[in-house]
Symmetry: D2
Subunit: 395 residues, 4 copies
């Protein structure tokens, strides 16, 4: 019988499922009294995990992957006051302390203490050394500050296949929409119909957007969104994006733009099979109307040695900033401060104000199939894969 | 054949339908080149009209009532640049110039120039002398600044029974929600299930509210809202409001409060058949949680000679401000700046993001039945009456 | 030799200086590992302490008073990570946990966990049982979340007579100004020239206000402000406040209002020697222009058995809400969330952007003179009294 | 005797002063009843005029230059209601109608109607065909919406050498600071010590910034700012900018960044004599701390055929967006919406809350010296040149 089956990194496109010891409330030789140990109920494969899988984010071999973690508290540190063993909790993917200047000003995504190298921490990356949660058990520090406790255990288990998206995709997409100033009546263009883009679409609708258009080169993903009642733009088409928008709205521009793609973007039209790191962002700069805003939850990085583009190796991209400037555009970059949105988005789910199943297109898999699911995702699957490491999810 | 049938005020609870000349683009002896003449397509009876009807707002005899006006442009002043004869337009109920300090800072509801007596203007009141629109034709000044032009004439006519609410009830209720800081996941209590309260409920949902609870002493109005999928609180019941909220939410408080009642409020429970001017607002101060906000689109007045309450004659009410203070509540008072919301709410309607028919419970009437409809409204009808003065509305 | 001289409450207008044991990191039988013990460097007498002194806030006999505390860390709990013994820290007067919903959303002033009776905690009141800091040593919980650590010990000691106001008066006055939407170019009326009002004036100027007018019935306090370069209004005068404002600004109204008085207000003009609990707030409602906002850091309470006014005993006041409503005013009530402003106001002090000495009119006293200073304050002294319990302040 | 001496464009670095007819209230064959004719009192030479002078902004030969205009109303159209002949008014440099979607939502800088080619209009450019104001008389449309009327004629003339900066430099710099979220206690880096950068520094101080650091390659301009009490960074130095900041603040980063340079930027250090269009912006991206914001009032353009950099010809720059993203930076681009700030900045000047003379370093010149002043500016003069076309300025 396993103790703690975990998906670990062995190299580019090489993952393993290994059985590890159950983690202790220890980190770098110190006992963490503010931490909890979770029995993982659901842990999802994310687009940012794909950057690791593709060898574009470097992580040490043996790292347990995964930063989308929902679980049951099975052990608590002495200083934890707001939760008890048996509680079901959602873990924001950002590791954050609640004590530094940034955490105390609603910026947990740039916590200054949990990663010595830079003010940014996350599970399952090389961002502070925190192991991921694609495993049966995991360690979560600063539990009182960081975690969202669900109000009712049975309800939480019952709605787990929706609530699991509170760890990352839903608040990340939602943050993109909030940053893009989506509000009732807005027209919104979302670049990228992967899980974050699809969650952003649901988030835009929750914010009251009049019309949400989602673009991708992947027709299968667009079909999911059409079926869910969203407008789509086929970025592999030779019809320019602005013209596709014009056909939907009667004008070739939108109020708000969300970049749910990031630096592994492909080009548009005839370039849709080539990596063009600035393609998604520049396409948004083009179609957002004067006075509009752009949320950029898609990841850009300061260093990308794996890029074929010389400037992009240093995180420098060819941006159409002149066009942006004459339109008075606002650009909001960065990871989502997940914790800021956790409670309100949970309420939206529990009161049935958001239709996540329609857009997330979830497939539950046992942990042993984790590596396969990474490969399917990489190949363009329109599924969102949720790992069920302890067999606790409803079928 | 009539030239301009109009609902006019003759005295408390006395209205007449009289035939008047079609108005000219003139006001107090001056030709208004910034004005338009509208052929009225829809013009609704509002709760604030009821204050006039009850003799609680003084207006000169002969005043044409009505400030909820949607119409077709039939004549335009020379300086009007943004619309043409034949356009269908929505008229925000606030008269506003677009040129004063307040209009230029998104406060058209307190325009400094259109009413010499005070910085507040509206059609069909004694607020600047502007005649109302419960008539076949009416004069609308400062058209370019104030009006919302619908993008497509046929679509506008087709959706008129929803778009008509852009003049007042929808933006007024929505303003209450925005002021109350309603956002995705919020729990909201709305006092008053009249048309503004019902529109506020729809507005709260558009803003992503998790749970909207609407309270009234009028069971018929509550039934409309239950049928439309909202939670309700019966304010005539002996069960305290906080307990009714607790039964719905599991806690006896909400995040946000909206006062859609105003100064002609009735008491709660055993006092529900008595006028208690501060009852609605104090009940909200009680049930909104610490840190919450309250939007107050319901009307309060600086002078109310008709009140039986001595202090209330001078607009002074017994408010539970101490309780509010210890909870860090924010209160936002005042008329809705309708124009600020016109475009975005139109978009929400046209893209089917808001279910107004379910909550508004509309009854279309010919103008001759206007006075009757005032009486029915006063008696507690759960209908919203839309006058069709020119027979242009779809049945 | 004393161990911990402290100012304690014995009854209305009866205080004592007693020597108590040095506090331990314990509260209600539990060791607090998140707490620190401070050697108090400066601890000031506040207007809200006066409510206790006057018998209008009930506290248990023997309570150590004082919530304006700056000190040196002399002992730290095991879980404290952000500070060390020897650090100089400023203590926000609100006790707050950093873990509850309110603390996590920038509302530490309504912390849900530190006071079982209601979501509001403070040192030296009956708000959770936390002892005050008018003493040589005191206990401060949740140190990492709550406290502001000064960057340099010597600089902090050098500037202590300014930095001491970061605990309450400066952020409280500043919060009033922020709530009143003071910004560059604003005209501001501040009711009350006590320490909070005077700090609010400095805060308004820091925010760029064009003209700050401060009103009081106390001529000595007004003189301090005139000397510091502010405009003043004499509320004991028979000249109406609006006329006094008109004489300064050329119009009888201001953009922003701050109530730095609260419920022990005196009337204006002929009523200036009588307690009229709503006088300050109603005077502000009158003189703030349409579209303006009002910050209310002055204290109002839900229960005031000591009031002579029947309604006021239950925290209900006669407010001119009708007048407010027709002007679209916004009212922001509640205690200042001190922590939110600590760092930025410290920076303003350390970079000499705010002239606190001119407005605060500080007198340093040994702790033995604490009770006398309470009496002088109550009698209308224009001084702000700073207690120096350990002889660490510069003369 | 001249009728309307004007500075006109003849070609790159070729300007003329010619005598033209006094303009009429006509534009493209239409009489403008919303317009006024101004007798120009002060009209300044701006950094953006330099782009024209350098041949980098194309304008038709014969265009009257100048968009910084303050004047006396000498003729008004029939529809102008808010001002009279004899009033002294400040003209925001953006031409804006007050009637379009953007103007009505506080974005006059991207007015949709005054320039058929794109939603952006200004005097004295090729942006809608509006002639500039470096002349004795000029035409100003949409006067009621756009202009700021000074409250007192004598006061206005007396303070004209400060008030003249309300047309552009002060609100433009201030907008950069507001966009960068400068607030009390902030540390701010401003790239560029030309007039906009210097005004931004004053604006940052007005907003309460703790420490303002201004950087330039031009030592003479830095000296002006040192003398005015600001910190400076010498961008021609081999000491990296971050190290220069560290020497001032003790940390190598600031809270807020303002780009007051734009696309004609020079490099830093050894590249300081070369044009590197992205140099200013990338240096700001580097030194602004995680969570910070950047205002970009410096001009970037969608098309720059005069650039030596191939991508920059199309307004595409090599931006370090990856670094920005990992720091959650917000970037706000675009022209200042001058009108939004006019009134409040006027108040700040009239109440002596901002020390413009110290930073602007003004030199008044007769209009005949206009071309010379352009040349001096281009050569790096630390002066701001104010043209006095009608001899109305105080010496």
């Amino acid at each position: 019988m396993s103790t703690n089956l975990s998906v670990t990194y062995s190299g580019t496109r090489e993952l393993e499922v290994v059985d590890l010891p159950v983690p202790k409330r220890e980190f770098r030789g110190k006992t963490l009294e503010h931490a909890v140990i979770l029995k993982v109920i659901a842990t999802n494969i994310c687009g940012s995990d794909q950057h690791i899988y593709h060898g574009r984010f470097d992580v040490p071999k043996g790292t347990v992957l995964g930063h989308e973690i929902t679980g049951e508290v099975v052990e608590i540190g002495r200083d934890v006051e707001m939760m008890e063993v048996g509680d079901i909790v959602s873990v924001p993917f950002n590791v954050s302390c609640g004590k530094c200047r940034n955490c105390k000003t609603l910026h947990p995504e740039i916590c200054e203490t949990v990663n010595e190298a830079a003010p940014i921490g996350a599970y399952g990356f090389d961002l502070g050394g925190w192991q991921g949660g694609q495993s049966q058990f995991c360690l979560v520090p600063y539990a009182d500050f960081a975690l969202l406790k669900f109000p009712d255990r049975d309800q939480a288990l019952d709605r787990m296949l929706e609530l699991t998206y509170l760890t990352d995709n839903l608040p990340t997409g939602f943050h993109g929409c909030v940053s893009a100033q989506v509000k009732p009546g807005s027209t919104v263009y979302i670049a990228g119909a992967g899980p974050v883009g699809r969650a952003a679409a649901a988030g835009a609708r929750l914010l009251g957007a009049a019309c949400v258009i989602i673009g991708d080169q992947n027709k299968e993903r667009l079909k999911v969104m059409e079926k869910a009642g969203y407008e789509t733009a086929d970025l592999s088409s030779s019809v320019p994006l602005a013209d596709q928008i014009d056909a939907i709205l009667g004008i070739p521009e939108v109020d708000c733009g969300v970049d749910a793609v990031g630096y592994e973007a492909h080009g548009l039209g005839e370039f849709s099979d080539k990596e063009v790191p600035e393609a998604a962002l520049n396409s948004i700069l083009e179609v957002v109307r004067a006075g509009g805003a752009i949320g950029i939850p898609g990841i850009y990085v300061g260093s990308d040695p794996g890029s074929k583009h010389p400037r992009a190796k240093d995180g420098v991209l060819d941006l159409a900033i002149g066009k942006a400037w004459t339109k008075s555009l606002t650009l909001v970059t960065g990871m989502a401060p997940v914790r800021n949105y956790s409670r309100e988005l949970m309420q939206a789910i529990l009161w049935n104000r958001i239709d996540l199943p329609a857009v997330m297109n979830t497939e539950v898999i046992p942990i042993e199939q984790g590596p396969d699911a990474y490969a399917k995702y990489s190949a363009g699957s329109a599924k969102k894969f949720v790992i069920d490491p302890n067999g606790m999810l409803k079928k």
